[in-house]
Amino acid sequence: MKMGNDILIEMKSVKKIYDLGNVKVFALKNVNLKVKKGEHISIMGPSGSGKTTLLNIIGCLDKPTEGEYYLDGIDVKNLNDDELSEIRNKKIGFVFQNYNLIPQLNVIENISLPLIYRGLDEEEIIEKAKYYANLVGLGDRMYHRPTELSGGQQQRVAIARALVNEPLIILGDEPTGNLDTKTGKEIMEIFKKLNEMGRTVIIITHDSKVAEYGQRIVKILDGEIIDEK
């Protein structure tokens, strides 16, 4: 079921309810959202507003309790765990606040992680991982461990890892949250560049300066979208 070529994400009255026994928590109450290909969107909201839940659903780590969600024309609600994993692998690239690199692996190995699960050949994996390491400016740090890198460098590794499978969407969950202002800016410049190269970028933040990089800012509060501009 294709929703038109240029619409990448379509959410119709999406709800997410956590059932904690006798209490039901409405993390998302009623979310309607459309994202076109090539857009750069910022999702803003205070903590507890449901923005992380929204990001998890967009990133196919979680499924909506109610409502419909189409990603690239695919109805996510009916997918099983394996199919969700495959979508995360091929269509989504995550960048987290705390980088989430695997400490035992070096830069190249961290970047190549998504490629392993795609089942590529060794040479192709190394070649691609090296290409993206160079792209984010870590060509001379390829065999370092994450602990030997600065925060900004670690986040670059994470971005390279998010890019290596050439996904449709780059999802950033407070990607500058752990970085100083200057480094944060550098990272946001990379996202901007990626967007200019045609990638769809969705960034979650509570920092309005970061949000301003987006062409559109979606504000969320108490599980509902309250403002779009």
């Binding site: 780590l61 394996d82 994993s85 692998n89 989430n100 795609r118 050949d121 060794e122």
Partner: protein, 428 residues
């Protein structure tokens, strides 16, 4: 296909890396498996060696034979105190004739024996004179080192020929060629016509008293009878040397049965015959086949006991591994979340943790095999026991150690795979 191989190679590489990250912990984890496997292999090797020895000894007696021996009774010795008394015991002509006519009996070889000094020149050696039939060589599987065994014609002609055991030859003829030389027993001369091959010692494992057949000398039955008669004269050590005289017709019958299947029935018939012929229990029936079966049975029990011990130690080892893997999964929750976020399926996570567990357990298995091969070698070297390391015991214990890895790795691996990726990502 090629990418699948790389996929697994990469998982194995990561697995080894993780194991080496905690060297001491990994080592302690696999100790259970190491000792389990080592004990399985070495105990099986020792057990196999012992039962091999037993079987060889029994086979030497001939599994198609039934051996009947005359037994001197305690009672006879007591009456000996009256000096002039002549004891009577053992197998008689009637037994011989009756056993010979049992339809399942192919032939019967009688012997008459005595312990005596054998002399050559100025050399003297204590040996056992066995007066018997030419078939004795075949029923007892005697090999001939040099020369020949005596024949039927030699026996019919009362030839004073002797075939000497390997140890006799070594004592009397350390350098000379014994063939054609004359040896002396009591006052009788015998011409050496052959030497038998060296034979292993029969030890207690067979249920027999030790009898070194290498100190035997074989002479034709007729010759022996005409020279030595039917009286067994033995000296009795004590404050005064006493001479004991016993009338013994035959010392042993070796009965060759036509068909292996008929051995047990034949031995039952023989037992009946002897029971009716003898008032006293002055005989003994040995069925090597039965001993063989008993040896096999003992071995089976031994293996079951061993197997249970091994199973317990391997299960304990497996639980140790599972324990550590569960801790590892908790430690690496974040990593699992990351892998899931970038597209790892549950199957991929299971593969990773399962392979890691199998690497651990099979490394333990390999070290165990090394020790298990080394220990029997040391036992052989220092305790002089025969040990046989069987290939199947190595293959079996390695398979088991891999199996333990899989069995005890499944639960931790599944636990890892079914973690909620969102929570795993936020795990601190």
């Amino acid at each position: 296909m090629k990418s699948k191989i790389y996929y697994f190679l990469r998982i194995i590489k990561i697995g080894i890396k993780n194991i080496f990250l905690h060297k001491l912990r990994s080592f302690l984890t696999i100790l259970g498996i190491v000792f389990g496997v080592a004990s399985v292999i070495s105990m099986l090797a020792i057990g196999e060696g012992a039962s091999y020895e037993a079987r060889e000894k029994i086979k030497e007696l001939g599994s198609q034979n039934i051996i009947i021996r005359s037994v001197k009774l305690q009672e006879a010795r007591i009456t000996q105190e009256t000096r002039a008394f002549v004891g009577v015991y053992g197998l008689v002509e009637k037994d011989y004739e009756m056993i010979r006519t049992i339809p399942t009996v192919e032939f019967i070889v009688p012997t008459w024996e005595m312990k005596e000094e054998i002399r050559y020149g100025d050399k003297i050696v204590q040996g056992r004179i066995v007066c018997t039939y030419p078939e004795y060589k075949d029923v007892m599987n005697l090999g001939i080192e040099t020369g020949r065994f005596f024949t039927k014609i030699d026996m019919e002609l009362f030839k004073p020929f002797a075939v000497i055991g390997y140890s006799i030859k070594k004592s009397l003829f350390p350098v000379e060629d014994p063939i054609g030389k004359t040896i002396t027993v009591r006052s009788y001369n015998f011409k050496v016509i052959g030497v038998t091959k060296e034979k292993g010692l029969m030890t207690e494992t067979t249920g027999f008293t030790a009898e070194d057949v290498n100190f035997d000398i074989y002479i034709p039955f007729t010759t022996g009878r005409s020279y030595f008669g039917e009286f067994e004269i033995t000296s009795k050590q004590g404050p005064i040397i006493r001479w004991e005289r016993n009338w013994v017709k035959y010392h042993r019958f070796i009965v060759r049965v036509k068909d292996m299947d008929k051995i047990l029935t034949t031995s039952a018939i023989i037992e009946d015959i002897l029971k009716t012929n003898h008032k006293k229990d002055d005989y003994e029936i040995l069925v090597p086949l039965q001993l063989l079966m008993q040896a096999e049975h003992t071995k089976k029990i031994f293996n079951i006991v061993l197997g249970s011990i091994a199973a317990i130690s391997l299960i304990v080892g497996g639980i140790g591994i599972m324990n550590i893997m569960l801790a590892t999964v908790t430690e690496r929750t974040r990593e699992i979340g990351i892998r899931r976020a970038v597209g790892a399926k549950r199957k991929d996570i299971i593969n990773q943790f399962l392979i890691e567990t199998v690497i651990l357990s099979s490394t333990g298995g390999l070290i165990g095999i090394f020790l298990g091969v080394l220990i029997p070698k040391l036992v052989t070297k220092f305790a002089g026991m025969t040990t046989i390391i069987t290939w199947w015991s190595i293959a079996l214990s390695f398979t088991i150690s891999v199996g333990v890895g899989i069995t005890f790795g499944i639960y931790p691996a599944r636990k890892a795979a079914y973690l909620d990726p969102i929570q795993a990502l936020r795990y601190e």
